[in-house]
Symmetry: C2
Subunit: 195 residues, 2 copies
Amino acid sequence: MPRATSFTADTLADRALLHFWVHGFHAASMDDLVRATGVSRHGIYATFGGKKALFLACFERYQQTVVTPAFARVEAPGADLAEVAAYFETQIAQGEAAGLPGPGCFVANAATEVAPSDAEVAAKVAQHNARLKAGFSGVLQRVAPSLAEDTRSSLAEVMVVFTTGLWTLSRCTSDAETLRRAVRRFLQLIKGVAG
Amino acid sequence: MPRATSFTADTLADRALLHFWVHGFHAASMDDLVRATGVSRHGIYATFGGKKALFLACFERYQQTVVTPAFARVEAPGADLAEVAAYFETQIAQGEAAGLPGPGCFVANAATEVAPSDAEVAAKVAQHNARLKAGFSGVLQRVAPSLAEDTRSSLAEVMVVFTTGLWTLSRCTSDAETLRRAVRRFLQLIKGVAG
DNA sequence: CTTGTAGCAGAATGTTTGTTCTGCTACAGA
DNA sequence: TCTGTAGCAGAACAAACATTCTGCTACAAG
């Protein structure tokens, strides 16, 4: 029997994700990725087949390990705006921990850099945004059941837009406290309409 | 006397801007830029010195030819939220005219792709965001002079975040009408607090 | 029309990219 | 202790990249 592999597809994707997240797709070379993951070129190609496929795997992994845990509380039955606040806080703190300017949101980065020239990534981004909108919409339904459906829908859209802007700015703004102030004020605006 | 140049630095930057705007920095090769601008490699290098310098010139040019005209009405004395609405509409329509998914905002794109690894670009992005905030803050001061200063400041921050998200989404969302709905709803939220 | 300057197109250069290949090594079974 | 399978590190590769160079060409002045 030959020796076992020293990594799994998931651990490889996790480490590559961190690198793509900070540096983006084009600026991350395979040499960088080999260094960052500790996995040989051969290992990466044998596992995923290429750079683009690795990127897509990282996208999936980001959903599973970052978005789902952070957004689950918003999607949970009974969630209200406090859960939305907690979601924002989690992601801002994550950027802060990585040393600001933070990496922002992997999906928002991919939307800007890769999606315009890649239909596969664009579809995944649209799917992610739809998920956010559904989550926010659920909270609004709970907090303000008397709201008309199209009002709720457009408010959820506003929250998606705000969320996206937050991650874009957290990539180049070195002041997490300003972002926190904006989040608090934004949630007050929503509360003003929704209850 | 030799023949005159068939382009000016400004027209060259204008054409390169369009290409960078849609494709981003890394995905735009010099070959692409030569094709897109109609200016020879020699001409580009003689005028700006390199790809990075060309990109910075495009940034400057974007401020002059896109941001300043579109944002001037917001910065004008006497501007109110209708001018903010017009600013958003101008940029959404611009994306639509370019064929959605639109190119978004050149600055927001640069913030995501280039700023994290380039201090010069990061500084320009920060400057741009400060300008937006100042413009929005001026409108709020006019519309709601009774608001406390820190309330106005954080509301302006919220508007900057929303604006940034709007351009990021307009790059991958094929539905300008949804963005328009979100803009209308967002301005209603602001009005609810400010006037 | 001649002339000479400087812009132009495209070839050439050296580096870096993504990808593939090769020889060696670790290690589970006999 | 042997054996052979399969992972590993690094060399090797072609393509693409930003940049530089070269010979030709257009054109304003005389």
